[in-house]
Amino acid sequence: MTARSNSMPARKLPLLTPETEAFWTGGKNGELLIQRCGTCGLYQHPPLPICSACRTETVASAAVSGKGKVKTFTINHQPWMPGLDEPFVFAAVELDEQAELYIFSNILAAPEAVTSGMRVKVSFEHLDDVWLPMFTPDGEAGDEA
């Protein structure tokens, strides 16, 4: 999988903001940080200045298990830019902590092996000052090079 990643064009990285920095850098400590409300307990992603349910400012980043399932996915075949010539999987991952708590990512696995509902776990790809959450099949040895 490392070879696949290296053959791709450089990833366009996200701008870090006060709200998003924790999410994009939690991988430095091996943690997937998702914003959670200290008042009502709701997880929310993307991160925002207040809780979108109870509207309090008591939101803070919380480490989650990093486990979830592929809610839905696509295998991209179109070479949008030079070097993007291998099929790869782009997916919505539903985290175990809460129903409909989705984050988008790549599934680092053979595209034909990916299915909706498949269990996955987080890993991180470190680029510059960003640790991109990535996902690999959970419990299947040998998927990570």
Partner: protein, 397 residues
């Protein structure tokens, strides 16, 4: 419940204009805009000087690969008019129809009598210069949170990657597949054959659809619309003035709108519904009419999957039933129970970016469809948008 004091009840569509779909055009985006605007004005039979409001969607931007290269100020200058009102339509808001909704409100509040709404695109020209200009990567070194920052870092450079997720989820939930989805493209192409301004007019079969290259599973080439250069203009007029113009006024029986935040990364539900559901509720709450009253439908088709999602959102199909409704093509044919995307839609006629659908709805209601005319069409649903949502139920007796 229907109320006669709703803003859309004070306003009619009185003229339409549309340029050729260029790939690319040899005319500038401003030239195309003026051509469409003057056509719409002439179509209604008003004087250019009667236009007292001017609006476009989504407002001029130098970025985005020709997504909106012309604004209202240069259009005002070139038309030599002195409108009292303009307003940039928000970047997605209630979808592409936002400009039309704002125009309706400007007339209903008494600010204007005739508002010209236009939508111009120059994406074909932009892509001649830079193949990647229409990708979601933006022009800055980093992607900001409001600009697909949660998806672009994962090489999801096109909206097709996002909508593919919805198509796959719909397949998984309802047990349908690529052969059903292919009928959206086949249906549109069949109608485009009779639209002289469509960019693709050669009929395709389901086999052609399945043989075309995969873009992002399960979406193939014919599931995606095509960029063009072109402009569409829709003229709105106050109801009391509309009755004396050239065309029978097209009434706006009801409108619906809603917002989404897909570009910001917010998705809820199970990827088989969008915030367009709110738009559908709003529309049907503003009229006593029902989906059975709709004679034909112009449903946004930036990607084929939009049509399934929209048909259900505006209650023209039950939940999970849109795929089966379109499959086989009989029910959505020109002579079928609900003729669908009679111009070919964006998939075949080109990405006029929503305004092609409203233009075609009006053309059908005015009996200008030629070989694709729906016999006796009096009521048409037009809907726009993938990231923001707008719908109008149009009627002309």
């Amino acid at each position: 419940m229907k109320r006669e004091d709703y803003p859309e009840k004070q306003v009619c569509i009185t003229g339409i204009g549309q340029t050729k779909a260029g790939r690319p055009s040899d005319r500038s985006a401003l030239q195309l805009t003026l051509e469409a605007c003057l056509q719409a004005i002439d179509d209604a039979g008003i004087s250019v000087d009667d236009v007292d409001g001017l609006i476009c969607h989504p407002g001029k931007t130098p970025e985005g690969g020709g997504i909106s290269p012309v604004g209202t100020v240069e259009t005002m200058m070139a038309l030599g008019i002195r409108p009292v009102w303009t307003n940039p339509s928000s970047h997605e808001g209630p979808g592409h129809m936002a400009a039309i909704f704002q125009g309706i409100m400007a007339i209903a509040t008494g600010l204007c009598k005739h508002v010209l709404c236009f939508r111009s695109v120059a994406q074909a020209t932009a892509r001649m210069t830079s193949r990647s200009s229409t990708l979601l990567t933006g022009n800055r070194e980093r992607v900001d949170p409001g600009n697909n920052a949660f998806t672009v870092p994962y090489h999801a450079y096109s909206p097709v990657n996002l909508w593919a997720l919805y198509a796959q989820a719909y397949f998984d939930k309802y047990g349908v597949g690529e052969e059903e989805l292919g009928w959206v493209a086949v249906n549109g192409r069949r109608h485009a054959m009779h639209n002289p301004n469509a960019i693709y007019r050669k009929p395709i079969t389901i086999d052609d659809y399945l043989d075309a290259r995969m873009i992002s599973t399960p979406l193939r080439l014919y599931d995606c619309d095509s960029h063009i250069d072109g402009s569409t203009a829709i003229l709105l007029s106050a109801k009391d003035l509309a009755k004396d113009l050239k065309n029978p006024p097209i009434n706006i029986e009801a409108m619906g709108m809603s917002m989404g935040a897909f570009g910001e990364g917010l998705h809820s539900g199970d990827f088989t519904m969008t915030p367009a559901e709110v738009c559908g509720d709003m529309l049907w709450n503003r009229t006593d009419w029902t989906p059975k009253d709709v004679d034909c439908a112009q449903i946004y088709d930036g990607f084929s999957i939009h049509v399934w999602l929209w048909l259900e959102a505006v209650r023209l199909c039950g939940r999970g039933e849109a795929a089966g409704f379109i499959a086989g093509g009989e029910r959505t044919a020109i002579t079928g129970e609900l003729p669908l995307n009679t111009s070919g839609g964006q998939l075949s006629a080109g990405r006029f970016h929503g305004y092609g659908h409203t233009h075609e709805a009006c053309a059908q209601l005015w009996g200008r469809g030629g070989e694709r005319q729906v016999a006796g069409a009096k009521t048409c649903m037009a809907v726009n948008g993938g990231y923001g949502y707008g719908a109008m139920l149009l009627n002309c007796d």
